[in-house]
């Protein structure tokens, strides 16, 4: 089963749940910007959470189905059309050979995920091997996915064997109450530290004030989202001895403008981190509109964050319903 790219203006890459176990060698985990939407697409397609899929952002993409297959599409900020019909996201669909499927960027949101039942896997023997155990594309490193690059017109994306019959896998939807609370201007929960002592008290107060918004800069990318707002002031130097960091970490370089590290984040960094976005809210950050969205930060605790994440991730299978088409 396979899809051929017939048109693409956005940034489309192959991603799975991420590259694991190589961060100590300096290899970023990569993987999806919106891990929830990616996970949900795999669930809807009847795949395991490790299966690879197509992530699309910043623009449009269209495919032609070369065989009958089932696809699941999730995410925010896209309109979906299949053959001659428009359909909602967060559902799975039966594609007939020869049909066209289009994902067109709309005003809000940022990333969509297209999973194929059976998972995106071996393109052909030369290109299809996972790199360091993962199919995720790491564009800066030029490896993973399809030759380490974004998808182009003419690429054929192949899939593995679906977990059940196409009829059983199609027309399923994730009920809306299970979606994260996506918003163009979200309030984001953050765990303070570990370098909160590097900042003045006033700066910490500003960072977490409900009256203070950060704009998400248009210069953001898969590595990090740059924020623009009131500059945060360091007490002393704006550098520390490099240490490990992770997606969601909020680094503040000497200009005082925070950067939220995203999927392609370097594994280590030397700027003080005022806090880290909680796992449950990372999807909301990722779906901010670059150059337009405003973010507000709110302080939370690790215990509350983990409770929120477990609530978000639990029982998703029970929230898959028949799609109302």
């Amino acid at each position: 089963m396979s899809l051929e790219v017939i048109d693409v203006s956005g940034l489309a890459t192959i991603q799975d749940s991420g590259r694991k176990g190589w961060r100590r060698f300096g290899v970023p985990s990569s993987g999806p910007m919106d891990a929830f939407a990616c996970h949900a697409a795999n669930l809807l397609a009847g795949n395991s959470s490790q299966h690879a899929m197509i992530e699309i952002g910043l623009g449009d993409i269209a495919f032609r189905a070369l065989h009958d297959c089932v696809v699941a599409v999730t995410g925010v900020g896209y309109g979906l059309s299949i053959y001659i019909w428009d359909f909602p996201l967060w559902s799975s669909y039966y594609l007939r050979a020869g049909w066209t499927i289009r994902l067109n960027k709309t005003d809000s949101g940022m990333w969509a995920y297209l999973a194929i039942s059976g998972g995106v896997s071996p393109f052909d023997t030369a290109q299809g091997q996972p790199i360091l155990g993962s199919y995720s594309t790491y564009l800066r490193g030029h490896f993973g996915g399809l030759d380490g690059r974004q998808l182009q017109v003419g690429d054929v994306v192949k899939s593995g064997i679906p977990s059940s019959s196409l009829n059983e896998l199609a027309a399923r939807a994730l009920s809306e109450e299970a979606h994260p609370a996506y918003s163009d201007n979200p309030i984001i929960d953050v765990i303070l530290g570990p370098q909160e002592k590097y900042f003045t008290n006033e700066s910490i107060a500003t960072c977490f004030a409900m009256s203070h918004e950060y704009s998400v800069s248009a210069t953001s990318d898969r590595m990090g989202y740059r924020l623009e707002g009131a500059a945060l002031t360091h007490r002393g130097k704006a550098e520390l001895i490099s240490e490990g960091m992770t997606m969601g970490a909020i680094q503040v370089p000497s200009n005082g403008q925070p950067i939220v590290m995203m999927a392609d984040s370097p594994t280590t960094g030397g700027y003080p981190k005022i806090g880290t976005v909680i796992s449950a809210d990372l999807p909301l950050v990722s779906q901010c509109v670059l150059g337009r969205s405003k973010i507000r930060f709110r302080e939370t605790t690790v215990a509350k964050a983990q409770k929120k994440y477990r609530a978000l991730m639990s029982g998703l299978n029970e929230r898959i319903v028949e799609a109302d088409l």
């Binding site: 176990g21 030029h142 992770t246």
Partner: protein, 216 residues
Amino acid sequence: MKPRIVPLGDSALLIQLGDEIDLTINQRVHALANLITNSSLNGILETVPAYATLLVHYDPLLLSFTQTKNLLRGKIDQIYGNESRKPRRVEVSMKYGGEYGIDLDFVANHLHLQVEDVIRIHSEKIYTVYMMGFTPGFPYMGKLDDALIMPRLETPRTRVPAGTVAIAGSQTGIYSIESPGGWRLIGWTPLKLFDPESESPFLFAPGDEVKFIVEK
């Protein structure tokens, strides 16, 4: 400094064993990383050793912060007094100066040294890979002799070829893939530091000892 465990968000924690670049502290970091990896604790995903800290990624669906902290506390106690180990020694044959080591003359001038002195001082020492990061396979090595301490470039170069040997501050490193770079470039090695398709993709591992061999 007494070890501290602090959260980095809700799915990682940072074990701080010190707050300076120091070989003994760094050896404890690697000892702890190895101990945790070899213990294969359920829910502990991976570790990232750095100069004086160890970042531990864990699965928040399986472990709470407190549970993770308690699991690791016992491991930390075990490493004190047990740092002695036999690190792997990696020999790196390199050519100083030339097409890629374009800053070698500038470095010598700036430090009021002869080029031969820079080469001798840099190649004499055995370095430790304190940590890896920046790009896949890039080793941060130290500690460089005080006579070779150079500031970084004010404006990083946009393109430094893979294999270029460089210095900055009290560190020396090797660019593992072509990337931007702000360190002073003093030479080049033909060795491949990162080959994603190879069975052993990395030339170095954190904690390795490294000796540069001068190629004429």
